[in-house]
Every structure is written in structure tokens, then in C-alpha cells.
């Protein structure tokens, strides 16, 4: 028993070291975001010292870098993520309920097409999807949620339908007998019961859309609209000499919301992200 306790203590020690190493990349970015450009290249892993420390210069430069303001990109990222996720949650949960309760041939065909769409990689549709979005004027941050709903419907419908199948029909029958129409039954009775899946699907969609690069890059009119990933990639790609310090500062700014979101809703995030993978 004593031996076991000693071994556990030793294991904890090992893990503390491993975790510190594991977080090194993030620390390094944070450190470098306060250093002068020259020092980032030559002393990547050194702490900022009196010579290399530049205060918040990198942050100021990063936000004002290029002819497109970073805060605009951040705003569009936030707008697209929130509206698209909300649209997906409401529309696909309704669709999934319709599909499982009506269960007609047409509904089943839609369901299997949704399942099928989950195995189709984005490269398969990227060119035609971008052209379609362009033709239908779905290429602005205000209309792109429709594209996200369409391309993301598969997994969401699949997860919602799986859960709805487990809800006993008697509850909805009782609501119907009490005079609820389908709309009221869904929003007052079924929707609240979907809470655990709503959270899981919501987390999955938020993580996907916030970090997505290629879809908005191809769909959006890039001269007018950028998201954070597009903005960061564009800084690196379009200037011969890159202001590394500014890029590091922008990376810090873009990671902070994710870390805060993660630390506050960790339990749901881990559950949601993993459930999507295990079921999909």
C-alpha cells in the first residue's frame, strides 16, 4: 500500500512535468507576443528581457496591421458563429423531430441523405458550393448561415433524430390531447427535453464554425468580409516581410475567447465534442 502511494505521487510528478511541456507552445506564443520581431526569430524560447520587451506594441500593430481592421474580422467571426449555430440548432431539431415522428418515405430519404453527407469531405463540394453560394448571393456574413445550415445539417439531424427516438411518444400524445398543436408541442414540450443534445450539437457547431477556414474563405466575398482564421492567414500570405510579433499578438487574441469558453463550460464541451465523434 505504501509502495502504491509512493508510485502515485511519482506519477503525479511526472504528469506535472508533462503538462508544463504540453502547454509550452501556448506559453511561447504568449511570451513572443511581447517581444520585438528580431528577438522572436533568434531567441524564440527566451523570456522577454529589457532589450526585447516591447510592451503592447505588437497588439496595437496587430490590430491595425494591413488595410483591413482586425476587429472587423473578429466581429464577423462572432456574428457568423452565433447566427449559424443558432439557425442550425433550431432548424435541424425541428427537421429531426418531423423526420422521426412522420417517418414517411420522403422523410426517411432525407434522413439517409443526411447520414450520407457526414462522410463527404469538404473538398468534394467546395468548388460547386462556392459557385452556388455566389449565384444565390449567400456570400455575405448575414446570409452564410444558410450555407452552414445546409452543409452542417447532416451531423445535427443525425444526432437529434437519435435522441428523439428515445423520447416516449406518450408525452407528446398527452400534449396533443390537451390541445397543443405541433408547433406548441415541439417548442413547449419536446424542445426543452432536447437540452442535452442541444448543448452537444451547439458546442460542436460553435467549435467548427469559429475555427473554419476554407468554407468562409471560398464562399465569402473576401475583399469585403474576413473571419479571424482568414485574417491571420492573409497577414502571413500577402506581405513579403511578415510582422511576426503582430501575428503572435493576434493569435493570443484569437485563442483567449476559446480558452475562456473552454474553462467555463469544460464539462459540456468535452461531452459534446466527443459525442459527435463517437456517434458520427
Amino acid at each position: 500500500m505504501k509502495k502504491e502511494i509512493a508510485r502515485r505521487k511519482w506519477l503525479t510528478g511526472v504528469f506535472i512535468v508533462v503538462c508544463v511541456i504540453y502547454l509550452m507552445p501556448i506559453f511561447t506564443v504568449l511570451m513572443n507576443s511581447f517581444k520585438a520581431n528580431a528577438a522572436i526569430n533568434t531567441d524564440t524560447f527566451a523570456f522577454p528581457n529589457a532589450q526585447s520587451y516591447v510592451g503592447t506594441d505588437n497588439y496595437v500593430n496587430g490590430i491595425n496591421f494591413g488595410e483591413y481592421p482586425f476587429l472587423k474580422s473578429a466581429g464577423y467571426s462572432l456574428l457568423i458563429t452565433i447566427t449559424s449555430s443558432a439557425l442550425i440548432l433550431v432548424c435541424t431539431s425541428m427537421a429531426a423531430w418531423y423526420i422521426s415522428r412522420v417517418n414517411s418515405v420522403f422523410a426517411r430519404i432525407i434522413y439517409y441523405l443526411c447520414v450520407f453527407s457526414m462522410v463527404v469531405p469538404f473538398q468534394m463540394v467546395m468548388f460547386t458550393l462556392a459557385k452556388t453560394a455566389n449565384t444565390l448571393h449567400l456570400d455575405t456574413p448575414y446570409t452564410i448561415p444558410v450555407i452552414y445550415l445546409g452543409f452542417g445539417a447532416g451531423l445535427a439531424v443525425f444526432m437529434f433524430a437519435g435522441f428523439v427516438k428515445g423520447i416516449p411518444l406518450e408525452i407528446e400524445e398527452a400534449a396533443a390531447i390537451d390541445g397543443c398543436g405541433p408547433l406548441r408541442t415541439f417548442f413547449l414540450v419536446v424542445f426543452p427535453m432536447l437540452k442535452p443534445v442541444l448543448i452537444s450539437v451547439g458546442v460542436l457547431e460553435i467549435m467548427w464554425i469559429w475555427n473554419d477556414y476554407l468554407l468562409p474563405y471560398l464562399v465569402l466575398d473576401r475583399t469585403k468580409y474576413k473571419t479571424i482564421p482568414i485574417h491571420i492567414q492573409y497577414l502571413q500570405g500577402s506581405y513579403g516581410h511578415v510582422d511576426l510579433g503582430a501575428v503572435m499578438a493576434l493569435i493570443v487574441i484569437s485563442i483567449v475567447p476559446i480558452v475562456v469558453f473552454y474553462l467555463t463550460a469544460q464539462k459540456y464541451i468535452i461531452k459534446g465534442v466527443v459525442e459527435g465523434a463517437v456517434k458520427g
Binding site: 423526420i99 462522410v119 468548388f127 396533443a176 475555427n211 502571413q236 511576426l244 474553462l263
Partner: protein, 305 residues
């Protein structure tokens, strides 16, 4: 319970549930259906059609049969990308799963701070591919610049760099799935094995691993599909560099994976878009095949239980 529900379903819910909902089709299903057609069904069908056409934009497509597929097969860079992707997939599969399992195994021993460690390991998973690529290219170049080289100058460094990046990103994720599996291993089974004189390795090999086979299947296929679909990280870390210029004028981008190769075929040269679409269809068939194998593998496991 189930049978009764089904019986009442047939008798009652036709009138109460099914038909009223069906009348609400325009509200419940139509929005998703239209978006699904715009965002998936039409682009998919059109994509299949265009793979048999010569085109630079969707309106000037001319049917040319399987010519694009033949060209794709003759494209040395596509074959190279396929091999390279397979090599990344196999090595990352082994590295990620071994490490993730080891971490999960250690963190289910009831050591102090397990939850904190878990939080730390999972965190990189939430960072997007573009940002991940920059973080790691900065780190690799920070190390390599001391030796006068860079991640974009050597395909060996590019390869191992990508493996390290993927491991850092995915270990935490697979760890969570393994932890869930390990927690479902019955404690009395391990107790019984111990009483029968089995040592740690024996219990791990003969009891723990066979019971968590479903988790192993899931993680194996997940890492496999993740590698095949990898794009953002590949694009940012080194963008396929270094490039090798062949005698016949073609370029082989030595660290370019399948998804990036398809992207480059589309957007570096507008005249090769037909070939790009043909490559994309083959890419889709490949990814779908992996998913089908996974599906049947998990199915057969369920039957056994």
C-alpha cells in the same frame, strides 16, 4: 414497453401526432431541406457531373467522359500526395493512439490532479487548424533556425513536424474516449484477475484491452479520417514545401497531402479544374470507404456483445 408504445403509435398517433406534424411540413422540414439542397445535394451532384467535364467555371462545362480521371491517375503529384498522406496517416495513427492510451491509463489510476491534467491535454483540440499551424511553424523555426535551416526547407522536418503537431492536437481527444472506455471496465473483473495471480501486464493485455476494443476501433478510425482530411495545418505549417521541380516541368510539392493537392489543382491553375474535381470524387470515395469499413467494424462488435 417498446411494443406497447408502437401499438399506441399505430392507433393513436396517426391522428394525434403524425398527420398534424405532416401538415406542418413547410415549417418543420422545408427550411432545412432547402438549405440542405443548396449546401449539399446540388453541389454534390453537380460535382460528380463536373468531374466528367472540362471547365473553368460551372457555366462553360463540356462533357469529356473519363478523361479527367485518367489525367488524375497520370498526375505524379497526386500519387505522391496519396503516398505521403498514407504515411502520415499510419504513423500518426500509431503515435497518437499509443500515447493517448498511455495517458488515459495513467489518469484512471486515481492519481492526484487527474482532472487538471485531463483539462490540459484536451485544450489544444479546441484551437483551429490555421492558428495551430502558425504556433508550430514558429516553434519549429525557432529551433531549426539555430542550425541554419527551416521547416519549409526539408521534407523530413516537415513530415515529423506535422506528426508532432497532429499528436499535440489529437492526443487529448483520443484520451477522453479511452478514459470513457477504461472507466467501463468492470472493477470486479480486474479484482478477480489479481486474486488469480495476474500481474499488471497480464490484466492490461487479457482483460482491459479486450474490453475496450470498441474505444480502440473508434479512435483508430478517427485518427485515420482526421489524417486523410487534414488541410488547414498542412497549408499553414509549410504549404507543401519544399517543392521539387521535375524535368518535364511538373512540380511535386513534397509535403503536400491529398486535400491540399486537390485544392491546388483547382485554384493554382483554372484549366485543371476538371482534373481537380475528378481527384475530389476519388478522395470522397476513399474517405467514404474508410467510414464504411468503420461502420461494419463497429456493427460486428455490437453483435458479439
Amino acid at each position: 414497453m417498446k411494443r406497447r408504445a408502437r401499438k399506441s403509435n399505430a392507433a393513436l398517433s396517426g391522428k394525434l401526432i403524425r398527420r398534424p406534424i405532416q401538415r406542418m411540413f413547410p415549417i418543420f422540414l422545408l427550411p432545412t431541406f432547402i438549405a440542405f439542397c443548396i449546401g449539399f445535394i446540388y453541389p454534390f451532384a453537380k460535382g460528380i457531373y463536373l468531374s466528367f467535364c472540362k471547365f473553368t467555371t460551372t457555366s462553360n462545362a463540356k462533357w469529356i467522359g473519363i478523361g479527367n480521371y485518367i489525367k488524375a491517375f497520370q498526375d505524379a503529384s497526386f500519387m505522391h500526395a496519396f503516398q505521403y498522406t498514407a504515411m502520415v496517416a499510419i504513423v500518426s495513427l500509431i503515435v497518437i493512439n499509443l500515447l493517448a492510451f498511455a495517458v488515459a491509463y495513467a489518469l484512471t489510476r486515481g492519481i492526484k490532479g487527474s482532472n487538471t491534467f485531463r483539462t490540459v491535454f484536451f485544450m489544444p483540440n479546441l484551437i483551429g487548424g490555421i492558428v495551430l499551424g502558425y504556433i508550430w511553424s514558429m516553434i519549429f523555426d525557432g529551433i531549426l533556425s539555430r542550425y541554419g535551416t527551416s521547416i519549409v526547407l526539408s521534407s523530413t522536418y516537415g513530415y515529423w513536424g506535422l506528426i508532432i503537431l497532429m499528436a499535440w492536437q489529437q492526443i487529448g481527444y483520443m484520451m477522453i474516449i479511452y478514459i470513457a472506455g477504461l472507466q467501463s471496465v468492470p472493477g470486479d473483473l480486474i479484482e478477480a484477475a489479481k486474486i488469480d495471480g495476474a500481474n499488471g501486464w497480464h490484466t492490461l493485455w487479457h482483460i482491459t484491452i479486450p474490453t475496450i476494443m470498441p474505444s480502440i476501433t473508434i479512435c483508430t478510425f478517427l485518427t485515420l479520417t482526421n489524417s486523410f482530411k487534414l488541410f488547414d495545418q498542412n497549408l499553414v505549417l509549410n504549404g507543401g514545401q519544399p517543392f521539387v521541380f521535375m524535368a518535364d516541368g511538373t512540380v511535386i510539392r513534397s509535403t503536400e497531402m491529398l486535400a491540399l493537392n486537390i485544392y491546388n489543382t483547382f485554384y493554382l491553375n483554372a484549366n485543371s479544374r476538371g482534373v481537380g474535381q475528378a481527384k475530389a470524387v476519388m478522395f470522397f470515395v476513399l474517405v467514404a470507404t474508410i467510414a464504411l469499413i468503420q461502420f461494419s467494424a463497429t456493427r460486428s462488435k455490437e453483435v458479439q456483445q
